[in-house]
Amino acid sequence: MIARHDAERPFFFGADQGLFGIYHPPVAPATQAALLCPPLGQDHIRSHRLYRQLATVLAAAGMPALRFDFFGSGDSAGDSADIRWDRCLTDTAAAAAELRRLSGCDRIAVFGARLGGSIAVAAAASVDPSRIVAWDPVLDGADYVARLDALQDSLRIDTRRFNQPRAAEAAAGQWQGFTIDARLRQQLAELRLEPPSTQMHLIESALPATTTPSRQRFIAHGATVTPLSSSTPWEELERLEMAIISHELVQSASGLLREAT
């Protein structure tokens, strides 16, 4: 059974009504709901359709879902330069409260891709989810910051994009189209996530083997790992404006989110 599109409700919520969300109601009364934390920056735009597909699949299977945008991103209030790590955690808690109110479900599972997964983990204490499903989450911030800096430097001299290479100053303080405030950059550089006390599922794209200490720590604390059969071009300059699509991800994530505890 497919959920009717006109039942999906776009709205603003949270402090000052500054957060944008879309609620996907279930086709039948539900006992648990799903909160979908978006990634930040260009990952957010590229995965928009995939998040919508995931929410639609979940709602059709009887699990209400809420998609939302952090303050300073998407349709929410604020500018990219206003995004802060702590505010993202507060927004996640506000979204979880809104989802519980809308769905009537006390038990919620949380999904997030990339930094959305990281935020889901970091906000676990205040959200109290039944489980977290994180797709290619950023577990070590310092590496992530270094990679995006390098990507930005490649971008500004890419003559397939620009007539002439652009000066470093023109691209400074930005990552792939989005202004990054120095405080957020510092917060991300210092990010080192600890495994949450709740059930954790990692979904991993087929990347070059990664055996970072953080990943090992999560697995040692009981996180399960679901590998995808293909890689995801999160950081490929040539595909920077192409949508991230993965039917396999939608199937895996919806299955893990709906698992009975």
Binding site: H5, F12, F20, N163
Partner: protein, 274 residues
């Protein structure tokens, strides 16, 4: 200014965000169309920046997703795409008319959004102006000279050109924004008709379309009298890329749009002011 989320349209299938200035009623509303498959916030949130800047100037705005794009669904009407776009934009104008009292509208579109803005501006009498970002342009003899002459004068570029032709390219295709290009004569006649009906037209080209636009002069080479008409404005950001990925480029573009609107279609309000 407040932003409100709406599900609207003849089948309640469209999703959009209206930015409503504090004035109770405003004559001119701004509608921002999807750029390719990117949802209504636009590439790197460009559409949010445009909408909020224009809201601050007193213009009500609506950024929304056309049928089947972003968060909008299909209308289940089985209309040809052009009719679907016209009907969706008509729904958007109805919404902004009901929410802010707008009676005339300016369309803003990048790439396929510019194509859709052109399509609607051809036929809908409520359209008072359009801002075409990397809209239609055609290769002219001048374009070809500017494109190929520097290559011929540079042996390294000749070698690269031959190399590319002989080896299968590993370069992936640029984002496909799905532009369908009608003949030049048709577009020129349609633009002339818009100007004849009193529309104000703003053409902005970026430096990211080197395969079909490479100089301000090319605009006149393409469009002749249309280019000279007082209702026509042209801006060329040679250093910028197609989707304005750098912050300063985006700011410059938004500045240009704001200035053009204030000069050509100043807001008149019936309320307390913006």
């Amino acid at each position: 200014m407040t932003e409100q989320a709406f599900r609207f349209g003849r089948a309640q299938h469209l999703v959009g965000i209206a930015g409503l200035p504090s004035a109770t009623s405003a004559q001119t509303g701004i509608i921002v169309l999807n750029a390719g498959l990117v949802h209504r916030i636009g590439p790197f949130r460009l559409h949010v920046a445009i909408a909020r800047r224009l809201n601050a100037c007193g213009y009500p705005t609506l950024r929304f997703d056309l049928s089947t794009l972003g968060d909008s669904a299909a209308s289940d009407e089985s209309l040809p795409r052009a009719q679907q776009v016209r009907a969706d934009v008509a729904d958007a104008m109805d919404l902004l008319g009901a929410q802010a009292g707008c009676t005339r509208f300016v369309l803003v579109g990048l790439c396929s959004g510019a194509e859709n803005a052109h399509l609607v501006a051809c036929s809908d009498p409520r359209i008072a102006g359009a801002i075409f970002l990397d809209g239609f342009a055609y290769r002219t003899p001048g374009f070809l000279l500017r494109h190929y002459l520097p290559k011929l004068a540079n042996p390294v570029r000749i070698w690269r050109f031959v190399h590319r032709r002989l080896r299968p390219s590993r370069q992936l295709a640029a984002p496909d924004f799905g532009m369908a290009i009608p003949p030049l004569a048709q577009v020129r006649a349609e633009l002339a008709d818009m100007l004849q009906r009193g529309l104000k037209l703003c053409f902005v080209y970026s430096g990211g379309n080197t395969e079909y636009f490479n100089h301000r002069r090319q605009f006149r080479e393409c469009y002749g009298a249309v280019a000279n008409h007082p209702g026509t404005s042209l801006e060329y950001f040679k250093a910028a890329d197609h989707t304005y990925i750098l912050e300063d480029d985006r700011r410059q573009l938004v500045d240009t749009i704001e200035r053009w609107l204030l000069r050509n279609l100043p807001q008149t309000t019936a309320g307390s002011g913006a």
